[in-house]
């Protein structure tokens, strides 16, 4: 007993708490696990099973919220780096490899900043406006199919949901501009209201043609319709619609050249002028989440969603490792060794001056590459959601790149040009598109 108390006396105060706790956990842990598995487990499973819809919804919401943050981080980093490249600069290069963690650290910095609100601001609205802006953009993710079956909620009115929720963000912007009690904010908020409401109309109308063609309002169904060769993509049947959608979506997301709401050379930062800390962070995040959303919508509506541009052989490889019997452990043990050696031999033969260990190392690296490649290929061809996810992200980020590119290249349009373009050009063009599509459908059906 003295030995234990003596050694206990030597540990720190924190240790005195942690060591007994560890002992307790060691005893209680297994008992609790056992009870959970035998008694509570089935009950929980039953409850979850009977409320599958709700469970699915909660999981989807959590997933979407969690996904939006890294997506925004990646896009912010991408924007910094790509625009730096276009400007012949280096861009962020301090945090992480090539500055990859820069946007994460910037996000943390925003969190630690003072949360300031002006004296004359309407506190309640001022506080909640960024939340509205952020939530409305994140909620849009819910109906976007990331891959076959990978959709938060399979709404049969998904397209309507997208536009109604997307259009709500303007309420947040207007509230933010109004409540700040700053003339720049007010101008920014009013510009946002005018701009978003105006462009909402061509944006929606450009998709109506698509809906006529597809005969469905479900985003999931739209995506599934575009399977097969890339000629099935709606962009080839609705080129004008795709163009109008692209332009109007750029304006919806307040991106260059339509970023009048936060035109820094005119109205400082628009509706975000008085915001600081994480409230500003929300506004900032929402902007980049919006970029991803409009890219994802472009992909989903017009560029084949998660479908590959060509029909890929979809196989279910019937691997049955059990049938190998005793050979399985032997293959696992010897296989990599043999492959490594086999791959090392050519190196050893070609570069006789190189020491044997270098050839072995090269062989090992190659073997690993081959193994990962094989596993990747296997997953790609056997699970269609992996393939879908890959294609969806490749296409979406191509559009993100286009938006960043536009930001690096274009000057800003003027407010009257912006409105004139929406009402005089985009709206008639989208009506024309709708009309022609409807006519074509009637003609084709009557033939």
């Amino acid at each position: 007993m003295t030995a234990i108390s003596k050694s206990l006396g030597q540990v720190t105060t924190a240790g005195k708490v942690i060591i007994p706790l560890l002992l307790v956990i060691l005893v209680v842990g297994p008992i609790a696990t056992y009870l959970l598995a035998t008694v509570a487990g089935p009950v929980i499973v039953d409850v979850l099973n009977s409320n599958l819809g709700i469970v699915r919804f909660v999981v989807a919401i959590t997933g979407v919220l969690l996904f939006s943050i890294p997506a925004a981080f990646i896009i912010i980093y991408m924007e910094l780096k790509v625009i730096a490249f276009m400007n012949l600069r280096i861009g962020p290069d301090r945090v992480g490899p090539k500055g990859a963690a820069h946007s994460v650290i910037a996000g943390l910095k925003v969190l630690t900043k003072e949360d300031f609100s002006p004296n004359a601001a309407d506190r309640t609205i001022f506080t909640w406006a960024p939340v509205i802006v952020f939530l409305t953009s994140v909620m849009t993710f819910l109906v976007i199919p990331f891959g076959p079956g990978l959709v938060g909620a399979k709404l049969n009115i998904g397209v309507l949901y997208l536009f109604s929720v997307g259009g709500m963000s303007v309420v947040g912007l207007l509230l933010a501009g109004w409540s700040s009690f700053n003339k720049y904010s007010l101008l920014g908020g009013l510009r946002a209201a005018a701009q978003v409401v105006s462009y909402e109309i061509p944006l929606t109308l450009s998709v109506v043609g698509l809906i006529l063609l597809a005969g469905t309002l479900s985003v999931d169904q739209l995506a599934a319709n575009q399977a097969g060769w890339f000629t099935n993509w709606y962009v080839f049947r609705q080129p004008l619609g795709a163009l109008i959608f692209f332009i109007a979506a750029t304006a919806e997301a307040n991106r260059t050249p339509f970023d009048l709401t936060e035109a820094d050379s005119e109205i400082v930062a628009g509706f975000a002028t008085e915001y600081s800390g994480m409230r500003f962070g929300f506004l900032f995040f929402a902007e980049y989440v919006n970029v991803f959303i409009i890219s994802a919508l472009m992909t989903t509506f017009f560029f084949g969603a998660w479908n590959a541009p060509f029909p890929f052989p979809h196989l279910t490889v019937a691997l049955d490792p059990g049938s190998l019997g005793i050979m399985l452990p032997i293959a696992i043990a010897v296989g990599p060794l043999l492959v490594t050696l086999a791959l090392a031999v050519p190196f050893w033969l070609i570069r006789t001056k190189a020491p044997a260990w270098q050839a072995l190392l090269a062989g090992f690296a190659l073997a690993n590459l081959l193994a990962f490649g094989a596993i990747g290929l296997l997953t790609y061809i056997s699970w269609d959601w992996v393939a879908g996810l890959i294609w969806f992200f490749v296409k979406s980020f191509m559009f993100v790149f286009v938006f960043v590119w536009m930001r690096g290249t274009f000057p800003r349009v003027r407010v009257d040009q912006l409105m004139g373009f929406a009402w005089k050009w985009l709206l008639p063009a989208s009506l024309l598109n709708l009309f022609v599509t409807a006519l074509a459908i009637i003609v084709v059906k009557s033939l």
Binding site: A120, P257, S265, P411, R412
Partner: protein, 413 residues
């Protein structure tokens, strides 16, 4: 409540400009003192639907520390009132208390974008007072370095113009060119920005090897690079639409408003001090005066922008001729160290990248000027903003102001 005070001095709790909780809505009278002139009274009275928007002195695109009070009706600018003085250093007073050599370094930071021209005019006026003849090689060096800096200034203008319209990239391409030139001049003068290179009677030091080799490198690709930079912006539909028909200025108004430099040439008046009143060795050099906006309506922002790009080509032509015709000889006239010119008056003007920059000196026989008047073109051009901007949009304020290319250091002296 005590007497309301002026602008920007010692704000305290009884200051009507500070708003406390519960005082919202009491902030009616702008500015917080009775109007001093007819114009001020007219400007600071609001009609229905109008409000004031205070731009600056801390604003991203006022080219320095300028404050502009805009009277707006929605997005329309009804009227505007520039408020100066945030950068006022009293350079003229400083010059009256410096000896003639010292004046050069006092004036030099006025227009930090093209500081050699700020040295050129006073140096020329002092040379008139002292009846000094400047060696020809020194004159050629002055023209050479001056035109280099004109290119740097105009190239930078192109970038700022794009930046004020929301384009991010061109400014960085502009800075590549400008840095090249500025580094070149630093090799010659020892300074990157405020060169302090011209001296009464010549220049401070002959051309050196590093300058010449850098200049040779730059000259071999200057025009190609210039065309490439033009290609970045000039074909951009958004850019052109933002600039066309905004801020039209016709020749007659330009003359009446005292405009000079690229701004008056873009209004169709071929007034360039280098040709209108030749100085230095400009009569010996071949170059054209680009003129735009010769129609009855005059030139717009786009004309002013394009004209500066034309001038870059002409400047490169002049540099080329300077290099070919550069005579040998001394770069400084022989002069006493302490200068006491006889009492008299002298005026000299040069064509700076912004326009006519002149100095008027009165000597009272001592080693310090009795009076030194500096005429800066940006100061005059800023007046135009109020005239050109009326009934345009807020966004155009920036386009017009940037197209006039003012530098606040020179405006506030």
């Amino acid at each position: 409540m005590t007497t309301p005070t002026g602008l920007g001095h010692h704000a305290s709790e009884d200051d009507p400009r500070i708003m406390l909780d519960g005082q919202i809505g009491q902030y009616e009278q702008v500015p917080p003192y009775p109007p001093r002139t007819e114009r001020e009274a007219e400007f600071y009275s609001l009609r229905d639907g109008e409000m004031f928007l205070n731009m600056g002195p801390q604003h991203p695109s006022t080219h320095g520390v300028l404050r502009v009070v805009l009277k707006i009706n929605g997005e329309n600018v009804v009227d505007l009132d520039p408020v100066l003085g945030y950068l006022h250093r009293g350079v003229e007073k400083l010059c009256e208390n410096s000896d003639y050599h010292h004046v050069i370094s006092q004036i030099d930071p006025l227009e930090y974008v093209s500081s050699l021209f700020m040295e050129w005019a006073p140096v020329m006026s002092f040379e008139q007072l002292l009846d000094v003849k400047v060696p020809r090689r020194a004159e050629y060096i002055r023209v050479l370095t001056g035109e280099l800096l004109r290119v740097a200034s105009h190239v930078l203008f192109q970038g700022w113009m794009a930046l004020d319209l929301g384009g991010l990239a061109p400014i960085l391409y502009s800075f590549i060119e400008r840095d090249e030139i500025v580094e070149m001049l630093a090799a010659l003068t020892g300074q990157r920005m405020l060169f302090n290179y011209f001296r009464i009677g010549g220049v401070n030091g002959d051309l050196n090897h590093e300058f010449m080799s850098r200049l040779g490198d730059w000259m071999s690709r200057a025009l190609v690079q210039h065309e490439a930079n033009i290609g970045l912006l000039n074909e951009n539909e958004i850019f052109v639409r933002r600039m066309r028909d905004i801020g039209r200025l016709d020749g007659e108004t330009a003359k009446r408003m005292g405009v000079s430099g690229p701004n008056i040439r873009a209004a169709g008046v071929p007034f360039d001090v280098r040709r209108a009143h030749p100085y230095s060795v400009y009569p010996e050099l071949e170059f054209d005066i680009p003129v735009r906006g010769t129609g009855p309506a005059g030139g717009d922002s786009l004309d002013r922008y394009l004209l500066r790009l034309d001038e870059v080509r002409e400047s490169i032509r002049i540099i080329d001729q300077c290099l070919h015709n550069m005579p040998d000889g001394p770069v400084m006239a022989r002069l006493p160290r302490l200068m006491r010119p006889r009492p008299g008056r002298a005026w000299a003007a040069v064509e700076s990248p912004r326009g006519l920059f002149g100095t008027y000196v009165i000597s009272d026989g001592t080693d310090q000027p009795f009076r030194m008047k500096i005429h800066d073109p940006s100061f005059v051009h800023l007046q135009l903003v109020g005239m050109l901007m009326k009934n345009n949009l807020i966004a155009d304020t920036m386009a017009v102001m940037a197209s006039l290319d003012p530098v606040m250091g020179g405006i506030d002296k």
